[in-house]
């Protein structure tokens, strides 16, 4: 909604189009917990063989390439951690504010700053959750796993609970000083309220602690507990499970092989879906649809709120099934026609509809659809209410798949909708945009990205396939002039294949993944590691292999 009509003239020479363009901002408002695949703990694990443990990295560790030492939990991490800490409990709304983020990524350590609203929500949620899990004497006893009959037993039970719950909440054993501190607090609460109240209050205290809300590492190298946290937040976006904590206690997370073996085990767990889906959501801006949902209802009667939701949900389901479950990689992401649909979405894609409200696997028409760029979410998110926007679609491909940015258009650019020109009804969408970008002032940058969008002109503003536009045949033949994509091609399938075979796209995906995995931008000392990740992507390996390769980088191991 906020994106300009990106058909504007760009005040640059045709030969030098460099710079950057603002990306869609993140919504910092409070929203309810999303349902669905991204946040779900359920589902199935990968169906193929385990990814192999890669050979030792040839990159050497250097100081400045360390991972951030202090990271507040991002909003998705916070929600996952809460869910995993209290499995099976229907928790109160975990409505913490969104974080500022960068380049679509919501877990950039340096931007995870505290704000008063965060602190208040953490406090309110800690209290609400603690009341939910231990608000009555009976619930408190169940949570603490004891039934004390006198003060001494209450005291002993409290201490035991502090040690066991603290281990999970802090992702490490509490120090003797910390145990004393929490026991003293527990005893004061017990004196002021009662045993159940003291359990509730100590839970509430843990959930606001610096060791709970932040991931903190210190020392020259990560110890076993820190390594457990690195693994669990990388692979599950959440806290370690009992087995991982046990591996840490036994000192098994000191060696490269021990760490990689745990990573293999963890990737088999359905929780691995979270990080894979969420990485793609953030990288490819699946949520942009919400702010571009305004479509002309006279042209698009099918565009209902339920269809929009299905279009959005398909993205998570596609990534979950084709990429996570089947260990797919970049090629599958860009070229696979497999997906899941419900009845409403099936009609949009022109495939057989599943019964009722069910979602079912399907294969989209092979001559019309390939991977993620040919899906309704991407197409509808990069468009206006009456028609798709070739420049917006092209710029999104540049930004997300080629890691390339372009400068902003000048203030006096004509930003009116070309679809409303007097003769618009006699022309195709492509013709209108070609005319707008034709001047020498505009053509330089638009030559980089408009053709990427023209190759997707077979899709209208909501992502339906079309062979004609305004009664004229769609022209989706283009000559690309960007990066290593140069040359002629026709239509969405060829475009998707061209991108899937591009070395620059592989490098871009590796860069995006590293940024997400590290919680910081790629620095000069990361070039070797990112190079190894790029090889993993370009060799056709899957996302799980990319995770394994990440685990053995010096950045992760040191």
């Amino acid at each position: 909604m906020r994106a300009f009509f990106a058909v504007t003239c760009l005040l640059v020479s045709s030969s030098a189009c460099t710079g950057a363009i603002g990306e869609d901002p993140d919504d910092p408002g409070l929203v309810d917990v999303e349902e669905g695949a991204a946040g779900s703990t359920g589902g199935t694990g990968p169906t193929g063989t385990d990814p192999v443990i890669p050979p030792p990295s040839s990159c050497s560790a250097t100081g400045p390439s360390k991972l951030p030492a202090v990271r507040r939990l991002s909003r998705p991490e916070y929600r996952n951690v809460m869910a995993d800490l209290f499995p099976g409990v229907v928790l109160p709304a975990l409505d913490v504010p969104e974080d500022s983020g960068r380049g679509g990524f919501e877990n950039v350590a340096e931007l995870l700053a505290p704000t008063p609203l965060h602190i208040e929500r953490y406090e309110a949620i800690a209290y609400a959750v603690s009341a939910k899990v231990s608000g009555t004497e009976a619930a408190a006893r169940t949570l603490a796993g004891c039934a004390p009959t006198n003060a001494a037993e209450q005291q002993a039970c409290g201490r035991k609970f502090i040690e066991s719950f603290g281990l999970r909440a802090f992702r490490r054993p509490l120090s003797p000083v910390e145990i004393s501190d929490y026991v003293a607090s527990f005893e004061a609460s017990r004196a002021a309220v009662d045993f159940g109240g003291a359990i509730q209050l100590v839970v509430s205290r843990f959930l606001q602690s610096v060791d709970f809300l932040y991931r903190i590492e210190s020392g020259p190298r990560p110890d076993d507990w820190m390594m457990a946290g690195r693994l669990s937040f990388l692979i599950w976006q959440s806290l370690p499970d009992a087995a991982l904590l046990e591996a840490a206690r036994l000192g098994r997370l000191t060696s490269r092989d021990g760490i990689a073996t745990e990573a293999q085990r963890m990737l088999r767990d359905p929780r691995g879906r979270r990080a894979v889906v969420d990485f793609h959501r953030q990288w490819l801006d699946f949520d942009k649809l919400a702010s571009e949902s305004d479509k002309d209802t006279t042209l698009y009667k099918a565009w209902t709120p339920t269809l929009m939701k299905a279009v959005r949900d398909e993205s998570d389901r596609f990534v979950g099934s084709a990429i996570y479950e089947k260990n797919g990689g970049l090629a599958k992401l860009l070229t696979s026609p497999e997906t899941l649909v419900n009845a409403e979405l099936a009609r949009l894609y022109g495939v057989a509809a599943p019964a009722g409200s069910a979602w079912a696997p399907t294969t989209l028409p092979a001559r019309q659809r390939a991977g993620v760029l040919t899906r309704a979410n991407f197409l509808a998110s990069q468009g206006h209410s009456e028609n798709g926007s070739p420049p917006l679609r092209g710029i999104a491909i540049l930004n997300r798949f080629l890691c390339t940015t372009v400068p902003d258009p000048p203030d006096d650019a004509d930003t009116s909708n070309p679809g409303e020109a007097a003769d618009a009804k006699t022309k195709t969408n492509r013709q209108l945009f070609e005319e707008r970008a034709a001047s020498s002032q505009c053509a330089g940058c638009h030559a980089l990205f408009n053709p990427l969008g023209y190759a997707l002109e077979n899709f209208d503003a909501i992502g339906r396939y079309r062979a004609t536009d305004n009664g004229k045949p769609v022209n989706a033949s283009v000559t690309l002039a960007v990066a290593d994509l140069e040359g002629a091609l026709t239509g969405p399938i060829e475009l998707s294949n061209r991108l899937a075979g591009s070395a620059q796209v592989a490098g871009c995906m590796a860069t995006k993944w590293f940024t997400f995995a590290a919680g910081r931008d790629v620095g000069p000392n990361d070039a070797c590691a990112v190079g190894e990740l790029t090889k993993t992507v370009s060799s056709g390996k899957g996302i799980l292999d990319l995770v394994m390769q990440t685990v053995v980088t010096p950045q992760f191991l040191n």
Binding site: M1, R2, F4, F5, L11, A20, I21, G22, E23, P25, D27, P28, G29, L30, V31, A69, V70, R72, P97, E98, S100, R102, G103, E110, T115, P116, L117, I119, E120, E123, D181, S185, A188, A192, V193, D194, G197, L201, S204, R205, Q208, S209, V210, I216, S218, A290, S291, T297, H384, S385, T405, P407, D408, P409, P410, D411, D412, T415, S416, D521
Partner: protein
């Protein structure tokens, strides 16, 4: 606002559609001899056609600096856009010709990053434009914050139900970090009024009250752990945890004030409007909450950021969709320009509502809350699509600014990036931000981000 006694607050009633509900009797946490000054920012999006909002009197040229009195203006002298503000003409300062010279190209992102910061937007590593410094409200809030009160209150009126999105960021905590804001009226209500003590009259504490008392102790205990850890760190990590500890301290102070509270009752008890969850309803209730919070000194700084509006909401369904899709990129089509003008009229009406609420509250010294508030309405971008000249800026109340005036500044500043008709501009809006900060008591402030800025002349008369 009525002055009657306490009415129990029910969150369930708040949530129930169609129900009406009341605030509890509120607590003024401090009692000042002179009422404190407050700052309220109303941030709207898109541009407003200049011919439809500007106001003129005969003989006043477009290229010179002049002003005229609004107090004795006739309704007919108010422009189409600003007509709903007529009733507050004696409390208005309308500023014509200010420009955001920091915005340069992409107006949306650059404006968000610079409009309230007055600082050069920054490019982050991903190429996005972000705020490079705190916005003026945050600078002011940091300096005038009261113990036991909120430093500032950020609200957003979103599209798409209670938890819809406002994809705009005008309020910045610091470089790259936008302040989050609340879009859910129940969450806002809970934040402001949910923790006030019940007035039971009984001396024995219930179990819940005992737990509630311990909640604050626990905050203090955890704050100590944040501080202890911070001392073992350095640089930005240390600052972050110290900042977190300090915010926990602020929350603890607020709870303490609410717990022991009731020094002076300010007696406010606004009834929340009920009905369908429209933008106007949310706005109305946010306006009432801010008014109550200001009246009872629960905060001195607040902001409301507005999202997109559906065209059908203000009589332009035929233009389709929302403001951006339907009319903002008007291409000089008259019906669309008129639509934009009417869209801004909706905001003018909302701003008038805000001023009415503030005006209705009497301070202990007999002045009105509005008199002691700088209510600033400032739009994301200027008068035409993606341009940032001719920002329509309206100040209500003034807190010492000389109000009841329409001020026009000459466009005599060369544009830093001259393009097309965009060669000479009015004064930088950053000057206004400095003037506001000084009026709020920050008399030493002379720089925003890295840019030295002088105040805008003529505002105090």
């Amino acid at each position: 606002m009525s002055m009657s006694g306490a009415v129990p607050f029910s969150r369930r009633a708040l949530m129930a559609a169609g129900a009406s509900y009341f605030l509890p009797s509120l607590v003024r946490t401090t009692q000042a001899a002179t009422p404190p000054k407050r700052l309220l920012i109303f941030f709207t999006i898109h541009g407003n056609p200049y011919p439809h909002w500007k106001m003129r009197r005969n003989g006043l040229a477009d290229d010179t600096t002049w002003e005229f009195d609004l107090k004795n203006a006739a309704q007919g002298e108010f422009s189409r856009t600003f007509a709903p503000l007529y009733e507050h003409r004696d409390k208005l300062l309308i500023l014509d010709t200010l420009s955001n010279q920091l915005s340069r190209y992409d107006a949306h992102y650059a404006s968000e990053a610079s409009l309230l910061t007055g600082a050069e937007p920054a490019r982050d590593a991903s190429g996005s434009l972000v705020g490079s410094a705190p916005s003026i409200d945050q600078i002011v809030a940091e300096r005038i914050r009261q113990p036991g009160a909120l430093g500032s209150l950020e609200l957003g009126v979103a599209t798409g139900g209670a938890n819809g999105t406002v994809p705009y960021k005008g309020i910045w905590q610091g470089r790259g970090v936008a302040m989050p804001y609340i879009v859910d009226q129940a969450v806002a209500f809970e934040r402001l009024f949910g923790r006030l003590p019940g007035q039971t009259g009984s001396t024995a504490l219930t179990r819940d009250q005992k737990i509630e008392k311990r909640r604050r102790v626990i905050l203090d205990e955890e704050r100590a752990r944040y501080r202890a850890l911070a001392t073992r760190l350095s640089g930005a990590d240390r600052t972050r945890l110290e900042s977190h500890a300090s915010m926990i301290g602020d929350l603890s102070e607020r709870l303490k004030a609410a717990e022991g509270g009731l020094q002076v009752s300010c007696g406010s008890k606004p009834e929340m409007a009920a009905g369908a969850r429209s933008m106007n309803l949310k706005f109305e209730n946010f306006a009432r909450m801010i008014t109550a919070a200001f009246a009872c000194d629960m905060t001195r700084v607040a902001s409301i950021q507005m999202a997109q509006t559906a065209s059908a909401d203000f009589g332009h369904a035929s233009l389709g969709g929302n403001v951006h899709g339907g009319m903002a990129h008007h291409g000089n089509v008259a019906s669309k320009i008129l639509g934009m003008s009417d869209y801004y009229r909706v905001h003018a009406q909302q701003f008038a509502t805000l001023l009415s609420h503030l005006r209705a509250v009497k301070e202990p010294d007999g002045s009105s809350l509005l008199d002691n508030t700088i209510a600033l309405w400032v739009p994301e971008i200027g008068s035409w699509v993606h341009q940032t000249k001719h920002l329509p800026v309206v100040i209500g109340g003034g807190a010492g600014f000389k109000v009841g005036r329409y001020m026009h500044y000459a466009s005599d500043v060369p544009a830093e990036v001259p393009t097309g008709s965009y060669r000479r501009l009015g004064p930088s809006h950053a000057k206004l931000l400095i003037s506001i900060a000084r009026q709020m008591g920050l008399t030493d402030l002379g720089q925003l981000g890295n840019i030295p800025v002088t105040p805008l002349p003529g505002l105090t008369g």
